[in-house]
Symmetry: C2
Subunit: 105 residues, 2 copies
DNA sequence: CCTATGGTTGGACTGTCGTCAAACAATCTC
DNA sequence: GAGATTGTTTGACGACAGTCCAACCATAGG
């Protein structure tokens, strides 16, 4: 079967306030730092530096980020690979992602 | 009596995640747009385009923004004047405020 | 087919958030 | 000083959010 993607908003439907809300949480802004390399990342808590959280909690945070339009999730077999929607975010909110990544703690 | 300021964090104590959290609300990101002109603004709901909200609610939102380090409030008589802490935000999070203001709906 | 893997979903619990209303406080004006 | 003006504070209430646990589901590999 061909790769599929979990539900996510279209690029033009990404709302600034939802992006802000998604990043207004310590866990998720930390995830942003993990995704900053532009690569794909597994969902396992240990794979994203969240070994202290339950896997369902991590899944919840990833869903919030995906539904806000920050990330996209590719389904491949039993694995899911998450990465930043960098181009679409840059197009919609020019300079925002760069400024955020530079300001990360 | 000399003008005073309501409690606010020092510039170096402004935390990105708290700024994000403060702006992850429809009312407050709208306030950011009001303050974008750099000028001082009264706290009256009608003065900031929030005539549909109770004055105590508006007061609450202004406090959240102030305690996040986004705004500063000058006390003058019975009035309080709120404005953006633009220089300090620019110094701490370069480019962030510009990107946000450009992305405002 | 059986089992292990990687992740999602639903429920429960706790805590925080946005809103309003009423009371309060400080200042200005008469 | 009395009353009006400008906000803040406190309490109440419903809604939402973060976390864990248990159950579930789809797929991969024997």
């Amino acid at each position: 079967m061909v790769d599929e993607r979990l539900p996510q908003p279209d690029a033009e439907d990404i709302e600034l306030v939802k992006v802000m809300h998604a990043l207004g949480d310590p866990v998720r802004i930390r995830l942003l730092g993990v995704y900053a390399d532009g690569g794909e990342h597994s969902c396992a808590p240990e794979a994203v530096g969240l070994g202290h959280l339950h896997k369902s909690t991590v899944s919840h945070h990833m869903r919030v980020m995906r539904e806000a339009g920050i990330t996209t999730t590719r389904v491949a077999g039993r694995n899911r690979y998450v990465r930043l929607r960098r181009d679409e975010l840059d197009a919609r909110f020019p300079g925002l992602l760069d400024a955020l990544l530079k300001s990360l703690p």
